[in-house]
């Protein structure tokens, strides 16, 4: 479905059918971290815990290396991956900062100044030309 109009939005993964199918086990792993006992078991032995979920080698590596954008590219959804961030003690705002490549203070300052503007951030062409 690469012809979808939303694929032209830069820096964004729309969690559509294709992403959801690809990311099912990755997201269900993240979902398991809602429970405190699972968070503890995961942190005690990440590799062994991940063996319970039949995700791809790429997805598994993205989890182990906390590559947040890569998890999204491989079908992760932000409301699921944020549970992994919570397990690591990362707040939602700091997680957002990490994904943008900004340091937390610079990101916080950007938000206080009104956030990332829409001008220049509407299409992939905007980013290519910027």
């Amino acid at each position: 479905m690469s012809g979808n109009d939303y694929h032209d939005i830069p820096g964004t993964f729309v969690f559509d059918a294709e992403q959801s199918r690809q990311g099912y086990h990755l997201n269900m792993f993240c979902m398991s971290l809602r429970q405190a006992k699972n968070r503890e078991a995961f942190l005690a032995d990440e590799a062994a815990y991940l063996d319970r979920y039949p995700m791809t080698a790429e997805q598994r590596q993205a989890v182990l290396s906390r590559d947040w954008n890569e998890m999204l590219r491989l079908g992760g959804n932000i409301y699921y991956t944020s549970k992994l961030a919570a397990t690591d003690g990362i707040t939602f705002q700091d997680l957002a900062a990490i994904m943008t490549g900004m340091d937390r203070d610079a990101y916080r300052e950007m938000m206080l100044a009104g956030g990332r503007p829409i001008e220049g951030n509407r299409t992939k062409g905007d980013w290519d030309n910027g």
Binding site: Y6, T12, Y79, F92, G101, M111, G114, G115
Partner: protein, 279 residues
């Protein structure tokens, strides 16, 4: 007969809940966010609803990818606040209104809105943050709550038009309930925000203000906004705004805008808030 006496729209940013729970509402960062809710705290105290009908979304809490209902109506007697990874919010258990909720379920299904009925569900910040904004920190919530969870996580959410039409069916359902009762309908989520990937932090005040104007005065035009416009112009999570259209549909054709508040930022998000009265 039951009567819809008001509409209440608000963002449901989780950090707002944290600020309330940790007594940070007077801090310089948060004070301008909460100042815009003082008027509506008094308003809802005077309106004294018996029931609030809350349109919100679950954020991978009660529902995961195992089950993705587009519209899920809570018919339970109570709902426990959920642990979303940081421990449950210290807020009262939410009490439902099974009799009215079941009446609405039957009415809208026969009206051809094929909803899911839920009898066991935890509720996350999407529902409890609006209650905290409206009612503060009471020992018990002052009224019954009927939750309507809308899928806005898995693309595609229901269209804006479907949400508006569903709201109209909810109005018909509530106003045919044969007991005197005052109902306020909440639409929650939004406004512009993007929580994910390299474009996180997107905020678009022009989109938001236009949406507020259309929602009040031209809901058909607001309902015609295609999904790609929300995703592009209001950020990938800004698409939550379709839920405000359910509330708007439930208010009837013409409304009076009693109160508006808009502030950037609360964490990653533009905060919007409206109080409407049916004409």
């Amino acid at each position: 007969m039951a009567k819809i006496v008001g509409g209440y729209a608000t963002s449901h940013v989780p950090a707002i809940g944290v600020a309330i729970d940790q007594a940070k509402t007077e801090e310089p960062y948060w004070q301008p966010v909460f100042a815009g809710y003082e008027w509506s705290r008094k308003w809802i105290e005077e309106v004294k609803p018996d029931v609030v009908f809350v349109v919100y979304n679950d954020h991978a809490t009660a529902f995961s990818l195992e089950l993705i209902p587009t519209f899920a109506l809570g018919c339970a007697a109570e709902y426990a606040p959920a642990d979303e990874g940081w421990g449950a919010r210290p807020v009262p258990t939410v009490h439902g209104h099974p009799e009215l909720a079941w009446h609405i379920a039957q009415s809208v299904i026969l009206d051809e809105f094929d909803i899911t009925i839920v009898n066991d569900m935890e509720v996350d910040h999407g529902l409890t943050v609006p209650l905290s904004l409206a009612f503060g920190q009471p020992h018990a919530w002052p009224c019954a709550v009927i939750p309507l969870a809308v899928n806005v996580v898995q693309y595609p959410p229901p269209t804006g038009n479907r949400c508006l039409q569903f709201g109209k069916a909810i109005r018909k359902a509530i106003e045919s309930f044969p007991h005197d009762m005052r109902v306020v309908v909440f639409g929650t989520g939004g406004m512009s925000h993007q929580l994910q990937a390299q474009r996180a932090g997107l905020i678009n005040p022009e989109f938001d203000q236009r949406f507020l104007d259309l929602l009040v005065n031209d809901p058909d035009a607001a309902a015609a906004i295609p999904h790609v416009d929300y995703l592009r112009d209001a950020g990938s999570e800004g698409i939550e705004l379709v839920m405000w259209l359910v509330m708007r549909g439930a208010l009837g054709d013409d409304v009076k805008e009693l109160h508006r508040h808009y502030h950037v930022p609360a964490s990653n998000t533009a905060v919007g808030h409206l109080v409407l009265e049916p004409k």
